[in-house]
C-alpha cells in the first residue's frame, strides 16, 4: 500500500508546529512504510484479512465535502433533536447539520498523541493514522458544561474517489461529571460512492466518580472499511456502560480497551454484531485491571446470516497488584445460515491470585420448535426470524438503562433486521 504521494501532500498542507512533532510524524510514516499493515501472522489479526484494503489506492481528503440535498435529508433521519449532534464528513465538521451548543475544540496534535506503543495489538493501524495526523478534536465535559442531552458524534465517509479518513477524538469527562455519548459511523445507503475507509481513534477519559454511557454504532456500507480504536480510561469510583454495535461493512475492526487506573470502578462492556452478505466484523476487547477492586462484566452477541463472519476476542489482563478484581465474560453467537462463521477466543492473563475471572462462549442456531410456534400462529418464517433475532439482541440494549438512547438503538436495529431478513 503506497501512500508516499499522499504523505507528502499532507505534510505540505498540514505542517506541524514544533520540531519533535514533525519528527515523530515522519517516523510514524517511515515505520508504516517498513512494517505495513497487520496480517494473519499477527495473532491479534488471525481471523481478519486486510488484503482487500491494501489493494486499494487510498486518497487523503484535502477539501471539505458537501452532501447533496437528498443526502442531507437521509442523514437528518439519524439526527434526532433528543441529541446534541456533531456531524463529520470525511473528518471535517459539517456546520449545517451540527449542533453549535457543543463546544468541540480542534487542537494541534501533540507529542504524546504521536507516541506509538508496539505492544498495542493495532499499533500498525495507529502508525498509519499518525503518519497523517495534524489535529485532534477534543470535547471536555466539566462542571461548567451545560449539556442536557446525549451527544452524538457522527462520521460519514463519502466521495468519488476512495478516501482514507483518520480522525482522532479525545473525550474528557471530569471528576463527578457524566456523559451519554453515541459514536455513529453512517454509510450513505443508496447513494453512489467509491469504497471508503475510516481509521479512527476515540479516547475517552473518565474521571473519578464520573459516569459514562457510550454507544458505538458502526453502520457502514457493504463495501467500506472501518477500523476503530476506542480506549477508555477509568479513574476511581467511576462507571462506564458501553454498547458496541457492528452492523456491517466489508471489514470492520473494533478494538475496545478499558483500563482500570483506579479502584472501585465498574465497567459494563456489551456488544452486538448483526451481519449479512459477506460482512466481517472483528471485535477485539481488552479489559485491563491495572489496579484492584474493580468489576468488569462483558457480554457480546452476534447474529450472523448469509456468508458473514464475526470474530470475538475477549482479552482480560489482571495485573499482579490488582487483587479482588472481578471479571466476567460471555460471548453468545446465533448462526442463522449454514455459511455464517464465528471465531470466539477468550484470552485471560491473570497475574493476581485473589480474583474472580469467568468466561463462556456459545454458538447456536434458531430453535426450530420456536419457529414452528410462530408459523402455527400465522407468522411467516421471515418475520419469525426477525422477531427472534430482535429478542436475542434486545437484552444488551437494555443494559444502557436510558430510554432515549435505547429507542434510538432499537429503531436502527429494527431497520437493519428488516433489511436483512
Amino acid at each position: 500500500m503506497i501512500m508516499q504521494g499522499q504523505y507528502s501532500q499532507n505534510k505540505l498542507k498540514y505542517p506541524l508546529d514544533g520540531l519533535k512533532v514533525n519528527e515523530l510524524r515522519e517516523e510514524a510514516f517511515k515505520n508504516f512504510s517498513l512494517v505495513g499493515l497487520p496480517t494473519k501472522n499477527d495473532e491479534a489479526w488471525k481471523f481478519t484479512s486486510l488484503n482487500e484494503f491494501k489493494d486499494i489506492q487510498w486518497n487523503v481528503p484535502f477539501e471539505e465535502k458537501f452532501l447533496t440535498h437528498d443526502q442531507m435529508s437521509y442523514v437528518s433521519k439519524y439526527l434526532p433533536s433528543d441529541f446534541h449532534n456533531l456531524v463529520f464528513i470525511n473528518g471535517s465538521l459539517n456546520k449545517t447539520l451540527s449542533d453549535i451548543d457543543v463546544v468541540l475544540c480542534d487542537e494541534d496534535i501533540a507529542v504524546d498523541d504521536l507516541k506509538i506503543n508496539e505492544n498495542d495489538p493495532d499499533y500498525k493501524l495507529t502508525q498509519l493514522s499518525r503518519s497523517f495526523a495534524h489535529h485532534k478534536k477534543t470535547l471536555i465535559i466539566d462542571k461548567n458544561t451545560k449539556l442536557s442531552k446525549p451527544v452524538q458524534i457522527m462520521n460519514i465517509c463519502s466521495g468519488d474517489v476512495s478516501f482514507l479518513i483518520q480522525p482522532i477524538f479525545n473525550i474528557k469527562v471530569s471528576d463527578d461529571c457524566e456523559l451519554k455519548l453515541i459514536h455513529h459511523v453512517l454509510g450513505l445507503q443508496n447513494y453512489a460512492s467509491k469504497t471508503q475507509a475510516l481509521n479512527i481513534d476515540l479516547l475517552i477519559d473518565v474521571g473519578a466518580r464520573a459516569n459514562v454511557k457510550f454507544v458505538n454504532i458502526e453502520n457502514s456500507l457493504n463495501k467500506d472499511f472501518c477500523f476503530e480504536r476506542i480506549k477508555i480510561n477509568l479513574q476511581n469510583n467511576s462507571t462506564i456502560t458501553s454498547l458496541d454495535l457492528g452492523l456491517g461493512s466489508k471489514v470492520a475492526r473494533h478494538y475496545l480497551e478499558v483500563k482500570f487506573n483506579g479502584e472501585n470502578s465498574d465497567a459494563g462492556v456489551f456488544g452486538l454484531s448483526l451481519l449479512a452478505d459477506t460482512q466481517h466484523c472483528d471485535h477485539y476487547t481488552f479489559i485491563q485491571h491495572v489496579k484492584g477492586n474493580n468489576q468488569s462484566v462483558q457480554h457480546y452477541k452476534s447474529i450472523l446470516t448469509d456468508k458473514s463472519r464475526s470474530v470475538f476476542r475477549g482479552r482480560v489482563r489482571i495485573e499482579p497488584n490488582a487483587q479482588k478484581a472481578n471479571s466476567e465474560q460471555l460471548n453468545n453467537n446465533l448462526l442463522i445460515s449454514r455459511a455464517a462463521l464465528v471465531d470466539s477466543v477468550p484470552q485471560l492473563e491473570i497475574y493476581a491470585d485473589d480474583v474472580k475471572a469467568g468466561h463462556g462462549s456459545t454458538v447456536g442456531q434458531l430453535n426450530k420448535e420456536e419457529i414452528f410456534y410462530f408459523l402455527s400462529r400465522g407468522i411467516s418464517e421471515r418475520q419469525a426470524v426477525q422477531m427472534l433475532s430482535y429478542g436475542y439482541a434486545k437484552e444488551l440494549v437494555y443494559k444502557l438503562d436510558n430510554d432515549i438512547i435505547q429507542n434510538f438503538v432499537f429503531q436502527i436495529l429494527d431497520e437493519k433486521l428488516s433489511d436483512i431478513f
Partner: protein, 249 residues
C-alpha cells in the same frame, strides 16, 4: 370442513398413522381418544404442518373459500392464516419476544392475509383485554416473554387466549387438559366453550374423559394402531373410562 381419507404418516422413519379417516363439519366438536403412542398427537401435528412429520399417502382436504382444498399443499403459516389453530400439548417458551408482540403480530398477519388493514396497537390492546378475561389472565402477563416463567396451567390458558384472539375455524386442542388441576381445567374448558360456534369446529385430543365433562363432544373417536377403530357419541367416552381400551383394540 375437514376430510381426512386413508392418511398414512410417519415421524423419524416410523409409521404412526396407518390409514386414518375422519370428517369434521362446522359447528361440531370431535374428541379423539386412545392409548399412548396411538398417534393422537401426530394427527394434530400433521394437520398443523410440523416439519418433522411426513405424510406418506392419503388425503387431507380442508375448506378454504368455501371449497375443499388440499391442506398438505399449504405451508404451516398459511394454514394458520386460513383458520387452522393448534393448541400445543407442551407449549414452548420463547425468551426475548413478549406475549403482546407475539399476539399482535399473529393477529395482524392473519388480518392482512384476508385483505384487511392491520389493527392499531391501542385498539388491539383493548380487544386483547376483553379476551384475557375469558381465560382469567392478568394484564401483566402480556409484557412477559412468551410462556417464560408460566406454570403448566398458565401455558395452557395462554394457548386458549391465543385461540380466542385468532378466532380459528378449526381448532386442534392437543391434550389441553394434561397437567391441569381442576380449577385450571374449568377455566380452559369455559374458555373453549365460549369460543364454540356453528361456524367453527373443534378437535379435542385427550387421554382422559375428564375434559369431556366440561366440553361436550358431538363425536368421540378411538384412535389406536394408527387408525380410528371406533366412533360414537359422548357416551363412548364414559364407556372407555369404565372399561379402558382393551375391549376395542
Amino acid at each position: 370442513m375437514l376430510e381426512i381419507k386413508n392418511l398414512h404418516a410417519r415421524v423419524e422413519e416410523k409409521e404412526i398413522l396407518k390409514g386414518l379417516n375422519l370428517t369434521v363439519k362446522p359447528g361440531e366438536v370431535h374428541a379423539i381418544m386412545g392409548p399412548n403412542g396411538s398417534g393422537k398427537s401426530t394427527l394434530s401435528k400433521i394437520l398443523a404442518g410440523h416439519p418433522a412429520y411426513e405424510v406418506t399417502s392419503g388425503e387431507v382436504k380442508y375448506e378454504i373459500n368455501f371449497q375443499l382444498q388440499n391442506l398438505l399443499e399449504f405451508s404451516p403459516d398459511v394454514r394458520a392464516k386460513e383458520g387452522l389453530f393448534l393448541a400445543f400439548q407442551y407449549p414452548i417458551e420463547v425468551p426475548g419476544v413478549s406475549n403482546f408482540t407475539f399476539l399482535y403480530t399473529a393477529f395482524n398477519s392473519i388480518l392482512q392475509h384476508h385483505g384487511s388493514e392491520p389493527m392499531q396497537e391501542e385498539q388491539f390492546r383493548e380487544f386483547l383485554n376483553q379476551k384475557m378475561k375469558l381465560v382469567s389472565m392478568k394484564p401483566e402477563y402480556l409484557e412477559r416473554p412468551v410462556n417464560v416463567g408460566f406454570s403448566g396451567g398458565e401455558k395452557k390458558r395462554n394457548e386458549i387466549l391465543q385461540m380466542a384472539v385468532l378466532s380459528p375455524r378449526l381448532a386442534l386442542l392437543d391434550e389441553t387438559d394434561s397437567g391441569l388441576d381442576i380449577d385450571a381445567l374449568r377455566i380452559v374448558a369455559e374458555g373453549v366453550n365460549k369460543l364454540k360456534s356453528k361456524d367453527n369446529a373443534i378437535i379435542l385430543v385427550t387421554h382422559y374423559q375428564r375434559l369431556l365433562d366440561y366440553i361436550k363432544p358431538d363425536f368421540v373417536h378411538v384412535l389406536a394402531g394408527g387408525k380410528i377403530i371406533q366412533t360414537g357419541d359422548a357416551s363412548l367416552a364414559l364407556e372407555l373410562e369404565k372399561k379402558g381400551y382393551d375391549w376395542l383394540v
